[in-house]
Symmetry: C2
């Protein structure tokens, strides 16, 4: 029997999907016993369990997770809020997060806040309304109002890609100030005298740029800054580089707020006959998957985006299951990968 799956008996009230009641009737048990097979199979006798599993197969029953969530107030859902999904920066993090959640039986619901953070409040309502077991803020800057709502919601939160001093709850990230200063140091140590910056306008990039400039200032060096849009693009990098190369005092080193921008800077410099790294050193940020393969290979700031995603995922799952996560604050640090462009 059971040639095809799909609804067998008469159509049911709403949607026509099979319910615990249908399965229970077919298996000759009470509805809650079906629930038990799904959630605590060890509490059910083997014979009964088999009969019920067979009934599940025959009816094509797929548990209604919404209903389960209402009753148990455990939604098995985690929300991630990103500025936009189409910047390459956070992809590894989202991927690793999804996989980690998945492995633990959780689903990811994705919200785009945009780089301007308008609509942030509406988005938050939509998300909190789903009663997720946790919320991951990935590279998002949030308003005071959002903070308050998140705090009030009691939902576990992980903020990532930064190390706030006043976190809402948990944090996985690194210091953008340290990063900027470290890159400045690195370039000056290599004997560069006229460092410049090409940076997107987003909050974190700004802080790296400022820290870079401050570190240079300490050595009595003024840094030129060129702004470009967020998220960073190759074209934006080329334009900014063109402006920089046209100046009277041409920089001999450029720190870019993303690898894509850095590739643009290298491309433009090459097009102008400026040799990278001899006349111009270029440092990127993000260590995207193409950065090692281009010519010259890009020196860049490496961040373990996957690790951020995994940690975020397991911290949220821990909390969702009532465990205390190993740490509430993780500094994943960064590293400068020296390659051909410097």
């Amino acid at each position: 029997m059971a040639k095809a799956s799909g609804p067998k008996k008469r159509a049911r009230r709403s949607g026509g999907a099979a319910t615990v009641v249908d399965v229970a009737r077919l298996a000759g048990v009470a509805p809650n016993t079906v629930s038990r097979v799904l959630n605590h199979p060890e509490q059910v006798a083997e014979g009964t369990r088999e009969r019920i599993n067979e009934a599940i197969r025959v009816t094509g029953y797929t548990p209604n997770l919404l209903a389960a969530g209402v009753r148990s107030s455990r939604s098995k859902l985690v929300a991630a809020i990103v500025p936009t999904v189409s910047g390459p920066m956070f992809l590894e993090t989202i991927q690793a997060l999804t996989e980690t959640l998945d492995r633990n039986g959780y689903q990811l619901i994705l919200g785009q806040a945009g780089y301007d953070g308008l609509r942030e409040d509406e988005l938050l309502s939509a998300i909190i309304g789903r009663r997720p077991a946790g919320i991951a803020l990935i590279g998002v800057v949030h308003s005071a109002e959002s903070r308050r709502r998140l705090l009030a919601s009691q939902i576990p939160v992980v903020e990532t890609w930064d190390l706030t001093t006043t976190p809402i709850d948990m944090v996985v990230g690194f210091s953008h100030e340290e990063t900027g200063a470290a890159v400045c140091d690195f370039l000056l140590r290599k004997g560069r005298k006229r460092p410049a910056i090409v940076t997107g306008r987003d909050e974190r990039a700004k802080r790296r740029a400022l820290a870079f400039a401050a570190a240079a200032q300490k050595q009595g060096i003024e840094v030129q800054i060129e702004w470009t849009g967020a998220p960073g693009t190759l074209a934006g990098g080329r334009e900014a580089a063109a402006r920089l190369l046209a100046r009277d005092t041409r920089p001999d080193a450029i720190f870019c707020s993303s690898d894509l921008i850095a590739l643009g800077v290298v491309t433009e410099a090459t097009a102008h006959g400026v040799s990278v790294p001899y006349e111009l050193a270029v440092v990127g940020f993000g260590d995207l998957n193409f950065s090692e393969g281009v010519i010259p290979p890009l020196t860049t700031v490496h961040l373990d985006g996957s690790r951020i995603g995994e940690l975020t995922g397991s911290m949220l799952v821990d909390r969702a299951e009532g465990r205390q996560p190993a740490q509430k604050r993780v500094d994943v640090t960064f590293s400068i990968l020296e390659r051909g462009s410097t």
Copy 2:
């Protein structure tokens, strides 16, 4: 009054979040009137509405969308299944989809099927269990079993990035066969005699490659194919190019299954002193945001990923709201953007 939001009165049973009952009590109305303000505000007298809205503010009430979903069997949730989120190919589509849904009050839940499509069935259960109003399959190949389950679930489905002849429900895409043949034509017309292919192993890329080869065959030309991993990387492109350039009959044109691979091929060729486009023409696929900016600018197959996402979103929303979408099958076509690399 109402200095801060957040729960006011005594803690409530589960989770501590305010419910319709709390709001109703505070506003002196019945619970369903609160529900009405949320869902059909025009049915409620202005005075009552204001009182309720004030009560909502004071209590910090956020509607439990899970409960709403169970009762109304409308979850305001759409699921998207992608092979992996970290390939750049589908990002614009996911972004446009998210935005379109968002504008209509729907949220996106994201599932990664992986390129191998294992775990596909488990993923599908998790997704169908949420009773989403629609499912978008973005660049995913699905098993016969998955097809059956989707069909049985009665949930509106849009398959994208391809034009299946036997769609589950709706389709937004283009023909990979036509694409492959068109690129072949394009290269032969430009006088290339020894075309080759560097392609990832994913299903669609394979079909483009085969169609390319078949078109060449018709003109009596044999095509060399080099395989690389999926998703395509710059490094993979370089390796494949190195192998191709080492052969006795060196190709004078290479069609790549992604722009990232193409950039790798160009890089490797340049490193070998092979001039692009004079000695070697290179065509990419996807028109990623960097492709126009590199040197030489990449000739590539352009696809409007955003449009695919928007269309998918509005088709699903239409169906979710009981409307018939304008079309069930949309061919978004492709175009070959001729730039410096050919």
